[in-house]
């Protein structure tokens, strides 16, 4: 990396330049209140109000940042759309009592984040994210959710487990989490306002290493004749001259009988192909394979070990716990002892209005029978 002169760090935090601190911290408090209300709790749990309050807080912070940033620093309007969808569905992931819906909302978060990636012109990563996360990882989650659910008994098909309905210490977690938000945003404002913007693009030079592409692009634009080819003169490393010091780019062309004469084409030429720059996926490829080859090996080993580990873990036979064993025995006995036409079992064709009532009245006696039997056997 090019060494850049860093300005001396100022004594006070530079938060003021990006958003008014009162607005930011007010937004944090309001957001904490909203998330707290949105979490599932015992007793009264006004989730919709919580979501609205959190959305209001997010809006306040965004407007505060927009007013300070002015017209120049505002992100694209699509940013607001994708950010709202991503954060809203992230909130729903942690507040929805049913795991399957939480996983589906997580897919929505992933899709909105992929939109943010596209806005940041990282198209390859956006697609990779959708394919790997929404396509593979979340499907695995959904399968495990379906595999690892308690078999519902007839009277509680719709019931939620106790551990899904109530959250654990929501107040402490929310307060700590939003203190972290406040600290992070303050420090990031300081850091961001000290960043120096890059003056050159390191990746623009990489197109030097794809002479075939340059050749084809120039040929199809009519800038390169049949008997010419691109080539650097002796002593010149690169086919691009003066690519990065503010002057227009030049490509040197070799022509003549033994390609010993050279001329240059400048990017000022009206016929210069506009698509002659490194695409996102080419840039990522260069960075990944040229700059981080060792990391790819490590990632491959990690994936292999994870695969082996998952297979070994899934094969392992497990003993049921004493308590779980009793519960399972209880359930199978209950199923065995209840005749098909008992009030506990749903009738095959009958309408459902009186089914729930029958369940409520029938349940205690059925379970009493089953537990008596277990007690006798023990």
């Amino acid at each position: 990396m090019r060494p850049t002169p860093t300005p001396p760090p100022p004594a006070e935090l530079l938060l003021d330049g990006l958003i008014s601190p009162i607005l930011l911290y007010g937004g944090c408090i309001l957001g904490a209140l909203g998330v707290l209300l949105a979490l599932p709790k015992r007793g009264l749990s006004p989730q919709i109000i919580g979501a609205l309050v959190a959305a209001l807080a997010f809006g306040v912070v965004l407007v505060g940042m927009g007013v300070k940033a002015g017209r120049l620093g505002l992100p694209n309007f699509n940013f607001y759309l994708f950010a709202t969808i991503a954060l809203g569905s992230a909130l729903r992931v942690i507040s929805h009592p049913r795991p399957v819906y939480a996983a589906l909302y997580f897919i929505l978060t992933i899709l909105a984040s992929a939109g943010l990636y596209v806005l940041l012109s990282a198209e390859f990563m956006a697609f990779a994210l959708i394919i790997v996360y929404a396509g593979a990882i979340l499907i695995t989650y959904l399968f495990v959710i379906m595999l690892a659910t308690e078999t519902p008994t007839a009277d509680q098909v719709e019931a939620l487990s106790e551990y899904d309905r109530y959250s654990r210490e929501p107040v402490v977690a929310t307060v700590l989490g939003f203190m972290l938000v406040a600290a992070l945003t303050t420090l990031m404002a300081t850091g961001v306002s000290q960043l120096t913007r890059p003056t050159e693009t390191a990746v623009a030079r990489d197109i030097n290493q794809l002479p075939g592409r340059v050749d084809a692009a120039l040929r199809s634009a009519g800038l390169l004749h049949a008997d010419e080819s691109i080539g650097a003169p002796a002593g010149q490393e690169s086919i691009f001259l003066a690519a990065n010091d503010g002057l227009p780019e030049h490509v040197s062309i070799a022509y003549g009988n033994d390609k010993s004469q050279f001329r240059t084409i400048s990017s000022d030429d009206p016929k210069w192909p506009s698509d002659l720059k490194l695409s996102n996926i080419e840039g990522v490829g260069f960075t990944l394979l040229r700059d981080h080859p060792g990391s790819i090996e490590v990632a491959g080993v990690i994936l292999l070990m994870a695969m082996l580990g998952a297979v070994v873990l899934a094969q392992k036979k497990v003993e049921l716990d004493e308590k779980a064993k009793l519960a399972a025995q209880n359930r199978s006995l209950a199923a065995e002892f209840l005749p098909q036409n008992s009030p506990l079992m749903p009738p095959p064709h009958d309408g459902s209005p009186n089914l729930r009532e029958a369940d409520v009245h029938g349940a205690p006696s059925g379970f009493a029978v089953a537990s008596n039997k277990v007690g006798g056997a023990a």
Partner: protein, 121 residues
């Protein structure tokens, strides 16, 4: 229609080599911080093992947004490359963690994290 013709350039924020304002970067970083903390709060409050792992994925995702935003700001692709590794780790973690969850579920027939409070035997 004007909107349709400008849509591609609107979507990919003004082409890659153009520099980005620090204030724009800050917008993305705030979204990333918020998503990370939502994931953190979820990890602390939810008691279902599967949802707890889902919340770690949410935190990975927030880190990914920050990495990509910095990569865009500095006009190089190193951040995007690291998101590839984050994806790799997330996939490996999901495979292992979910295998463990299935194992634990077969043992106690519950997904409640607090039923594993005593780690013995």
């Amino acid at each position: 229609m004007n909107l349709l013709s400008t849509l591609p350039s609107t979507l990919a924020q003004a082409g890659f080599p153009a520099p980005m304002e620090p204030a724009t970067l800050y917008h993305y970083l705030v979204v990333s911080a918020l998503m990370f903390c939502i994931g953190l709060i979820g990890f602390l409050t939810r008691r279902n093992l599967i949802i707890m792992f889902l919340c770690t994925e949410l935190m990975f995702q927030a880190a990914g947004i920050a990495l990509i935003a910095f990569s865009r700001f500095h006009l190089n692709h190193t951040g995007e490359t690291f998101v590839i590794f984050v994806l790799t780790i997330a996939a490996a973690e999901a495979a292992m963690a979910l295998a463990l969850v299935v194992l634990l579920f077969r043992r106690k027939e519950t997904l409640d994290a607090s039923s594993w409070m005593q780690m013995k035997g």
